[in-house]
Symmetry: C2
């Protein structure tokens, strides 16, 4: 039911139990079913009632599940549905800007239907020639994050050496493609133990965790995956690690067009790995992971290098962050290291969309999503971010509407 | 003998033994006496033979005593005199720009007399109305370091909250005074166990390590020292710790005009101390020490704060640098952290001198030096930098000429 005629329907929800200091586990969330009337209550001026289609799993969400005071973003309420960005269809509205049948993206709940009252977070979707889920990815916050973090913070120049960690993630894959379009030399790292578990099912590359699908169809697959497929390995659910690593590096090189890529889980010595991929050093590091990788990068930066600190996903799910020991490198190398939040760059959104939409339509920029099917798989999908399980932007499909 | 008539005289030297990975000790240097002819050899085109007056002890020198490859500055040669900046008098010259009787500052040796061949490091001293030792302090590299690191890297604005570590050192005392002149709120930290050992001798405040003198005469002393003196404590060589802490904080507040100051050795919890001195947070941190202090500062920075990384003196004399755990603060607070080297700002020297010389002569900026007497005390003076023993710019007086 989604006619907005005020029927009461069941509403499956993912509830956040309580604040977690250390590693977030699936058991810190639970699935429940309540009911909802598919009509905005009369006393709820400007409310918008939506059917959720795609929900976004983002690393920053982990910090809302911690009892942090004075953070830039409020903690979640224990006992309530998890809150995050999503793409949704309007079923009923008391807001003059949105009407039944509109597609929007906004801060919404991890549930089938949501009543959105913080309507300032709503953006109407006008261009429906692209997958709707892109509006929580390349056409949403991750896209603008990559754009602002690369162009505004890194001051990139043609020919510079660019390194990106978490390079297959929602933001990293775009930074690398932007850098290539500018004429930089680009290497990405990614990888994890969990990512070594892939299979091919119905012609689609899958990672094992919750049998969720990668976005690539067999036709889009890099050659090594196709070979795997053609050779019939899809009959054996688990691929050997070596093959999954090929998949991984191939994704960065052949799909995103990076100059090179490596699986950091295969490198015993990150400093040595970086020296191999960047014998002349790194001009720009787009920092997504923190910890040991940052320490190794600091040893390999070039003079007047720039480090754009987007996040440190390796550190979010541990109680005490790892120590970074090589900050002294900042001085002799005159390195600038700068953190940023995408919220400061909203004014660039129109300019960004003007740039990126044609690139998408011309196939000059691609975007890989890792789509978990159904709210039941949402907790595992969120946790997977911190173990590097996702290949591409992690999305939860609530309904394909 | 200093007539430059070619006489051969004895030349006391401080020799660097060999590369040291961990803590530098006095025994890593030794005093010896060789001879030198007080004339530039005929085959030494452009050479300048000098009598050294004041030698500079700087934290960066520690890194030349380590076998670092690819550093921005070459390692010292084991078995040779230590090399650093000094103020000297020309005894003989084959260089057209310098003549006998000139005073200069340059890269020179830790010895009584040096033959300078790297003449591109020589600056002639024109203004002799100020103490000559200032040319390795406020009128030399430390001065330009403070100027560039504060004005160029921090982008300071009137009314901002400025925190300076190692605030009584060669650079820190100046940054604080520049910030006060601009109208900032300034707090400095300094302190060490060793600094708790003071005495007053002949009306002058001394610290104990090698009985070297602080630059302040009794007439310049903050009140607490005078009280100590008047009460006759100079008869008892060691002051109680509490009194020495007063000396210390008074130096920063009353001599340099900081708004507040604290002895970090007295603070069990640096985060709590910073919250006490900066209840509204820190806009600008002038980083001289690294390690735990940086970690605490990161928790107390304001949104869009700037950290100018001048050095990390607490880390130079330990084998494995401490880990910094709170770098994640860079992201939500959009902090910019930037390392710099004074060598990049030589072009600002004339502008800097134009600003600072009048301030010195008007008494609007003061400069405190910690002068060790004689080459014999030079090794202890250098090591003292890393234990925070110095009060003010650490100088070695070779000769008062």
């Amino acid at each position: 039911m989604e006619s907005g005629d005020g029927e009461v329907v069941s509403n499956k929800q993912v509830i956040f139990k309580d604040y977690v200091p250390g590693a977030l586990k699936e058991s810190d969330m639970y699935i429940t079913t309540s009911t909802i009337k598919l009509k905005v209550p009369e006393d709820c001026t400007n409310g918008v009632l939506v059917k959720n289609l795609y929900l976004s799993c983002d690393p920053y969400m982990r910090n809302r599940m911690r009892k942090l005071q004075g953070s830039y973003i409020a903690p979640l309420n224990p006992g309530s549905p998890i809150c995050g960005r999503g793409v949704a269809k309007v079923l009923d509205s008391r807001h003059p800007d949105y009407k039944k049948g509109d597609f929007i993206w906004a801060m919404t709940g991890w549930e089938e239907y949501s009543l959105i009252t913080a309507t300032e977070t709503i953006f109407k979707i006008h261009d429906k020639d692209v997958p709707l889920s892109y509006y929580i990815g390349i056409l949403g916050m991750p896209g603008l994050t990559a754009y602002a973090g690369f162009y505004e913070i890194c001051s990139p120049k043609k020919g510079e050496f660019v390194f990106i960690s978490a390079a297959s993630g929602a933001v990293g894959q775009l930074v690398g493609q932007f850098a290539k379009l500018l004429g930089c030399y680009v290497v990405g790292s990614a990888g994890s133990k969990d990512k070594s578990e892939f299979w091919v099912k119905e012609g689609i590359v899958c990672s094992s965790a919750s049998e969720r699908y990668g976005a690539s169809s067999a036709a889009d697959c890099p050659e090594s995956i196709l070979i795997t497929y053609v050779h019939g390995l899809h009959q054996f659910p688990r691929l050997p690690i070596a093959i999954s690593n090929i998949v991984y590096v191939d994704l960065l090189k052949n799909k995103f067009g990076f100059d090179d890529a490596f699986n950091y889980k295969e490198e015993m010595d990150l400093d040595a790995a970086l020296k191999r991929y960047f014998p002349d050093g790194i001009d720009i590091y787009f920092e997504n992971v923190g910890g040991n990788m940052l320490d190794a990068v600091l040893l390999n930066m070039r003079v007047r290098g720039r480090i754009s600190v987007c996040g440190m996903v390796s550190q979010y799910n541990i109680e005490q962050p790892e120590g970074v020991h090589n900050l002294m490198s900042l001085v002799p190398k005159r390195i600038r290291m700068e953190g940023f939040l995408v919220y400061d760059y909203f004014q660039l959104f129109p300019k960004y969309l003007d740039m990126v939409l044609p690139y998408i339509k011309q196939g000059k920029i691609v975007y890989v999503e890792d789509i978990a099917e159904g709210l039941e798989n949402a907790p595992a999908a969120l946790i997977g971010l911190f173990n590097g399980r996702n290949i591409g932007k992690q999305v939860v499909a609530v309904s394909r509407e």
